[in-house]
Structures are given as C-alpha cells and as structure tokens.
Subunit: 569 residues, 2 copies
Amino acid sequence: MGKRVVIIGAVALGPKVAARIKRLDYAAEVTVVDRDSLISYGGCGIPYYVGGDVQEIEGLCMTSANVLRDCNFFKNAKGVDVQTRTEVLSIDRKARMVHVRHLSDNSEFDLPYDKLVIATGGMPVIPPLPGIQLPGVSVVSNLHHAKLIKSNLAGGKIDRAVVIGGGAIGLEMAEAITDLWGVKTTLVEKMDQLLPQAFSRDMSKIIKNHMEEKGVDIRLSESVLRIIGNPETGVQAVETDAGQIPCDLVILAVGVRPNSQLAKEAGLSIGGRGGIVVDEWMRTTDPDIYAGGDCVELTHLISGQKVHMPLGSLANRQGRIIGTNVMGGADRFRGTVGTFCLKVFDLGVARAGLTFSQAAERFNPVQTVVVQADRAHFFPTQQPMYLKLIADRDSRRILGIEAMGQQGDAVKARVDAVAAAMTFGATIDTISNLEVAYAPPYASAMDIVNAAANSLDNILAGYQEPIDIESFLQNLKNGDCKVLDLRSRGNAAPLLKKYPDRWLNIPQEELAGRLDEIPADAVLNLICGSGARSYEAQRLLCFHGHSHTKNIQGGIGLLKATDPEIINE
Amino acid sequence: MGKRVVIIGAVALGPKVAARIKRLDYAAEVTVVDRDSLISYGGCGIPYYVGGDVQEIEGLCMTSANVLRDCNFFKNAKGVDVQTRTEVLSIDRKARMVHVRHLSDNSEFDLPYDKLVIATGGMPVIPPLPGIQLPGVSVVSNLHHAKLIKSNLAGGKIDRAVVIGGGAIGLEMAEAITDLWGVKTTLVEKMDQLLPQAFSRDMSKIIKNHMEEKGVDIRLSESVLRIIGNPETGVQAVETDAGQIPCDLVILAVGVRPNSQLAKEAGLSIGGRGGIVVDEWMRTTDPDIYAGGDCVELTHLISGQKVHMPLGSLANRQGRIIGTNVMGGADRFRGTVGTFCLKVFDLGVARAGLTFSQAAERFNPVQTVVVQADRAHFFPTQQPMYLKLIADRDSRRILGIEAMGQQGDAVKARVDAVAAAMTFGATIDTISNLEVAYAPPYASAMDIVNAAANSLDNILAGYQEPIDIESFLQNLKNGDCKVLDLRSRGNAAPLLKKYPDRWLNIPQEELAGRLDEIPADAVLNLICGSGARSYEAQRLLCFHGHSHTKNIQGGIGLLKATDPEIINE
C-alpha cells in the first residue's frame, strides 16, 4: 500500500502538492478535502474576471490545455481523490487522523494519514464596522464572491462603488470596476498612501496619480466609520471620518490573514503574524504535518523577520517542495525577498525587498530614485521608467527596489533581475555591473538598474548630495528653498514664471562659464529632467567651492509623475 | 595641475570614461581623440536608423535631453577636450606620450599622459572575397556606412539585397531593410543555423521561421564564394556554393574583431581572441594604460574562457570602472555571463551563458525546453514563450538560458533574472524557487523559469526521460519511432491521419483506464501541447512498467515554432 497523504485545501498549493506526489509515486493514496464546491482555481485572476479580461468564471478553473480542473479531472488525469464540500473539523495528531464532515449530508468520518498537508490558505480581514453585513458589501476571496460582484455589475444597477483598502486587491478591483463597467469608483485607504506595505510613499504617488487620471477617486488618510443602507435595498453609502460617499456596491479589501485556526487547535505552533510556523522544509512543528501557501509565515530574506506573503506564486513553488518532502525528499524553501508586481490600468508596478521606512527599522539605509527611458532614448516606443533603489550604508547590501512604468514587462524585468541578485546578498557594486540584456528596443546601454546603483555609489562616496522629492517639496512649500534649473531656457521658462523668487535657470552646458551668477551662500536645489545633468552640475559647483547644493532625485521627470501640480502652470 | 588623461576613441567607452573622470575631479585634463568626425553615438542604433525607427542620424548622437553630443557639448557640458579626425599613430609608453596626426592638415604632435585609456573598439571582419570592394557592398560599423546604406535604399534603386552573416547585426539589418523598404532580402549564413554563437540550433529555428514568415529568404550552410558586379554599376549578385543570388545591395555582417593593433604595436599583451588583455581593474599589462569595450577580451564567468563580447552595455559599465580607477579607485569588472537580447521583427530573443554545444565542451550538460504562456494562461494577451535551460549534471550549476517570444520585454525579464542568479553560481534548485514577480497580467503562478528548472530536476532525478526535438525529428524521419499523443482527440486527429502507422492517441485523462492499449515493447515518444501532460503520462506509464518512453521536450508547441512542416497537414 502506498503512503496515505491527506491534504486540507484544494485551491493552489493543495492540488500542486497532490500532483507532485502522484508523479513521484503513483502508488501514494492522496486525498484532498475542501469546504468549497469550486476548487483549483486561479484566485489571483478574480479581478480580471470581474473586469472582463476573462469572460467566464470557468476560465479561472481550466488547465492551460483548456480542461476543467474538477474532481473528475483530478481523479482521471492525476489519480487524486478530491472531496469537495468537505470540512475538516479537527486533526488528531496522535492517531494521525483528520475528522471531517461532508457538508452535503452532514455525515462525519475519519481520514487516516501518514503525512498531512495543511493548505487552508488565507481569509479576508473583515473589520467590525456597522453595516458590514449589508447586501452589496463583499470581500473578494473566492469565486462565489467574484460571481456575485460581476452579476451585480452586469445587472446595470451599480452606479457608484467604494473600494475599502488600498492594497493590491483593492487597486485591482478598482481598476476592474472602473474599466469595464464605467462605474464611478472611490477607493478609501486609511494610511497616507496606496500600497503602504509594498511601496515608499513618493513612489506610490505615481500610482495614485495614474488611477486618478483613469477616473478613480482616491481618498487617503480616511477611515471608514460605518456602512449605511438597509437589509432590503442594500448598501447606500460609506461613511468615513471625512463624510459620506454614496454607493451601490462596497468591495472590502483591507487585507488577508492566515487561515491557521485548525492548525492552532491541533496544537501546532502559530507565529507572531498569525501564520503556521514552518521550517525550511515546510514542516510544521509536527514532523508528519506540512503546511504552505497563504496559511504560513515565511522568513523575509532581507529583514530576517517573519512575514505573511499571500501570493499564488509562492504557494506553487512551496507546493512542489512539500510534495517532494512528503515523499522523503529534502528540498528547501529558504524564504522570500518579497517580490511582487501588479498592473494598475496602464501602469506596471513591481518591487522587492523593503521599502525605505521598513529598511530604516533595522538598517541604515540610503535611497535613490532614477527616472530613465525603458528603451534606448532614441527608440520610438520608449517610455519613462521610475526606479527606487535602497541599500544599507554600512554593508552596501541592496535592501529594496521599487519600479514602475507603462511597459509592465519591462518593469518586471528590472525588479526580477535585482530581486534574483538580492537573494544572494547583492551589494551596490553588484548592481552597478549587473549584466542585464541590452539592445535598443529593450534597454539603454547603461540600464536604469545600473544607473540607480551608480547613483547610490556616488551618494555614499560623497560625490552626490541628494535631496528626495518629498523633502524638496516640503522646502518649496515652506519657501526656504532656491532652485537652479539646469535645463534649456525653453523648458525652464514656465517654472521661472511660476516661482519667480525661487527659480533660477542656467542650462548645464553654460554653467562653467556662468559660475559668477551662483548665489554664494544659499542652499541651492539643483534640478534637471531626470537628476543626471543636475548631478553633473553639482560636481562642477562643488569643485568651484559651492558645496551647499542638493541634487533633486528624479528631477522634473519624477515631479511630473508624483506631484504634477508643482510644475503645471 | 590635474591628472592628464588621454583617451583613444570617442564612441561609447571613451566618452563615458571622460565624463566619469571629470565628475570625480574637474581638475583632471582629459583629452579624447578619434579618427572619425562623428563621435559619441549609439552604434547599436544603426539598424533602427536604417529601418526608420530613428528618422535622422542625429537621433543617434543626442543625449536623452536632446542635446547633440559634439565637441562643443563635451567642452561645455563636460569640460572634456575632444579632438576629432585625429589619428593616434603610436604610443610611447616610456615617455608616456601618444603620437597623433590631425587628418585635416596632416600635422603631427605628441600628447603626454599620466594615464592612457584605449577605447579603439571593434572593427568589422571583411572576408577576402572577390568583388568585396564593389560599390553597393557595405559593412555596418559606423554612421557613415549607415548613411550610405540608407541613402541607397531611399534612392529607390534597390530591389534585392543580400545580407552576409547570420549574427545579430545581420539579423537586425535584414529586418531593417525588409520592414521599412520592402526590399526582397536574402540572408546567407555559412553555419547550419542563425546566431550560432548565441543560440542552440533548435531554438534558432524559431527565429529562422519567424524571419521567413516576414519575407526574408534564409540560406543556411551556404558559403559565399564571390560578389559579382562591376566598378561602375556596382554589385549585381552574390555567388554562393549553391548558386547566384541577384542583388543591388550587399550588407557584410560576418563578425567584429577587436581593434587592438595600436595596443599590440605598443607592446601590450594581446589575448587569444585578438583582444587587449586587461585585469579585473580594466588595466592592460602597462599599469598606466587602461582599455575597455570592444577592443578587449573578457573572462566568461561560466566557461572561465576568454571571450570577445562587443556590446555597448558592457562598454558603458566598463567605462565607469575605468574612470574610477584612473582616478585612484579600485572598482572591478569580474567578467561576463554573455547576456544578450535582440529584436527580430515581432520576436524578442534573449540568452545568457553557454549554448548546449558550448557547454558540452567543458561540462556534462543537461538541457530542457519548456513552452509556456508568458502571462497567466487565462490572461487574454498571453503569448507562448520558448525557454531552454542548460545545467551541469554534476554540480547542478546553471550554464545557459535561451528564451524567445512575441513580448520581448517579458523574454528579457526571464533571461535577466536567471543571468543575475548565474553570476552568483546559481544551481537548478535556486532557479526552481527563483522569486520572480507574479501577477496574472505578467506571469504564471509557476513561472516558466521555475518550470524549466523543475524539468531539469525531474530529468536528473530520473523521473523524466526526455528526448530533444531534433533527435525526435531524426527518429520520425527514419521511421523507427512511435508517438503517443496525449492531447484531445480533436487536437490529435490531423497527426493520426498524417502518420497513421506511427501516431497513437490517448487523451491523458483517459490513460489510466486504457493502459492495455500501450504497446509493450516499442519505444514510445510521448507528446502533448507543451511537454507537461506527456510528462505526467510518462510517470504513470513508468509506474505500470512501461519504462521505454521518451517525453518530447516542448511538445507540439515547440514543433509548431521550429518545424511546422512536421505538424501541418
């Protein structure tokens, strides 16, 4: 008789584990149980189903060869027994059995195991708000929610929607609703930025501006107090500490937490982030029980801290490892560098590692922002890319990268390459010479990742004295700030007019001959299109004794994307 | 007085070194000399100028802020003295002087240096063919050639062109000429594949098929014997060992070699690849002389061999290092993993490391080819991506990656991430879990790079018994070959009809119940759309004692791209 393996959960990790086990030993008896009737679906695809990129819900449940992944499929194609609408009530570790109930007839029985795999996933955080149970208020954590939301939208009765939560799912759902259905959408986030776990505040402004251009109303630093409506007609408004927002639909996307209750009740260790504790072999504190996916905590390879990273890609990779190890192997999952990407309308955003403020909690970080074309600047399809790189001042180790631009694959390319290097402890010097592929249709000869690392190197060597965009804006608003614009007269003219007392202009190529025009004492903020010419100017000014200058990171290019009102006439 | 630095060559590396030096110490006296009148241009952009993506030649000589990079620009914006049309006749290392001649008036003089930088670049290989000097025969190594070719094309007198050489420049030029000008173009390559230095033969077939679809006539394994025409009317035909190809234009793109003659005459060491020998600090065998870019040899970080890699991106990165080191720093350039990408019409291709045959020269390599969607398979913009991964059987170290697909940035993303990991000695296991960013619009949950590494792991563990596409085709042609097609009846039907004696069909989900139909003794080649279901079938068959099966790598998806005639009705 083969090894008896029971797997709790049949969405992402569970089916992957089951299939891997059967490929290693077809004699293994693999049973997968899931509370739900729908299984093995691409949950990350829900926003694309709601937004119409995926027409039918079955699209999320198909293999790449267009076969429906239902119980029959698992039985016939994989040799795996999947029992749906079957809830696990408890785990008896001593007897090595799980006690389950069939939801169809309430019958209960025991499933013995040699090895158990917990793949219970995550569950949406539901804040205890008045009105949270009203019809028209929905989380987005499974296909039933997805169907309901889409049928509501398709019914044509939704004019206005509110998305609560500015994380990845909130942003994707806001796009889906706005884009396909033309619903006037407001997104409410209680923090002072979108995606606070993933991006630094300055970078997140680029996302906010882009979403606003696409018609989404973004409310930051606003807390939802209650949801207004009645049980018959449903939701009517969301009330925040800034007022009421009328709406017919509310999407709740304030976070996901590990679904670790069953493990906890069985006496397995649960970590500080609420996830099941597993070792590098994905084993829980019981050597016969493995866990992975959204229900576990992982080690962050940069911070060393435990983190909860609910991502289908991590679940799939862990699933293979668990399958191998259940069958006697010893594959390891070392942890995560937090690589992540997202499409927000026409903007591709990606990141890895720590944000600047996360890095500041345990390192002595330095950051730079570079704005550069994602192709050779002479190539016609080039678009600006915005890239932040963060490193530790002492060890020079790379701590984080954040990037965005209109060509999302190109953004992902930069982040994936740096993230790969980060898992090996890459330093600034590694990234300065990171050998990314070059051809004019795809990159500059000096790629933006190389340029960003060079910028950090210049800062740490004391050659570049930077000022980040938020500090500069603060100074500009306070009025105690002079700016030297190194661009051409024509480009600088509107800002000379807008800030007549604070804005100077000397094109960079004239600077060497016009040094006598430089104010001797004032701190001078240097700006150009991207921060490159202004850096060159800073070096020249420094050589001539003007050491009180600051180079504005990312220059006009970054201001245009983050704070357009500053530069617009 | 500042340090006197003389730089020979003002195209890519030279200007980069000069600018870096001045930023480190504006007092340095930097003189750049170049034989040409045109300087500091994006030479890699020439095909895009000829093909019309870049309208004017000046587009290749501009900064990203649209300023022309001429001598005035270097003087005013950078403080660098550039002397064009100035040839270096010799280097007097003892006296630390270069002896130069102004080509305008033939005046000669000496330039003393404290540090010298040789940035003489590469030069096109010109084979000693009869007729090579005829009007209408041109290499593509500088802007003068580019202008001449484009003006010939614009003159409207070119109906047919022959490109000699199937390397990167040959392919880019073939595209440029065909795409914008509609010229009937034939590309002749003496080897049996395109891009023989960069891609394995099976993968290069995808490129060949794509180019043929776009109208380029590709002739492999054909050697050019002579070029026919007369000095007045120009070229009329190219004669190869297979016959004559009439044409009005010949582009010679058979390779580039290091321009190291000057360094050789000065007694500096020249390596086996003809390039100047430099150490990790980019110093030649004379500690006061640095060299970089297309005139040097580099260490290949995978093979350990010396290689010549003429790429603008390497030149730029080396340029910064040389600038730093000339001014007393100690930055290092460790070598190259041979990362490279190219746009070929609508196909993006990229690679790093060694091809399979290069790897076989000094390792015990194993390879796999995976065909998979570049986005989630349910995402509407998904396109197939083709990816080969090569590793060493003994150390499991990754030796090479080759990828291609219609979304070039997505191809580059995979290669850049794996290349970054390769510089750290990544193994199969690293890439199995490489944390590339995931969201349905940009990737599958199990990304193609993870899937490829898993495939190698399965092969080395003995779970998967592969057959590469070329061996399979050989067997199919020889007739000693049975194929079990695991796809649906409908998909398999045309091939059952085409190969009635050799093609069987059992849909994978029916296989467990139809094992009695499996021929007991014959070697059975298993095929599906991509190689995934056929692998699953292989495991099942093996469990049931059918150990003589081979899984066809990449399946029908790869056949469709490499050898469409096999599967077309």
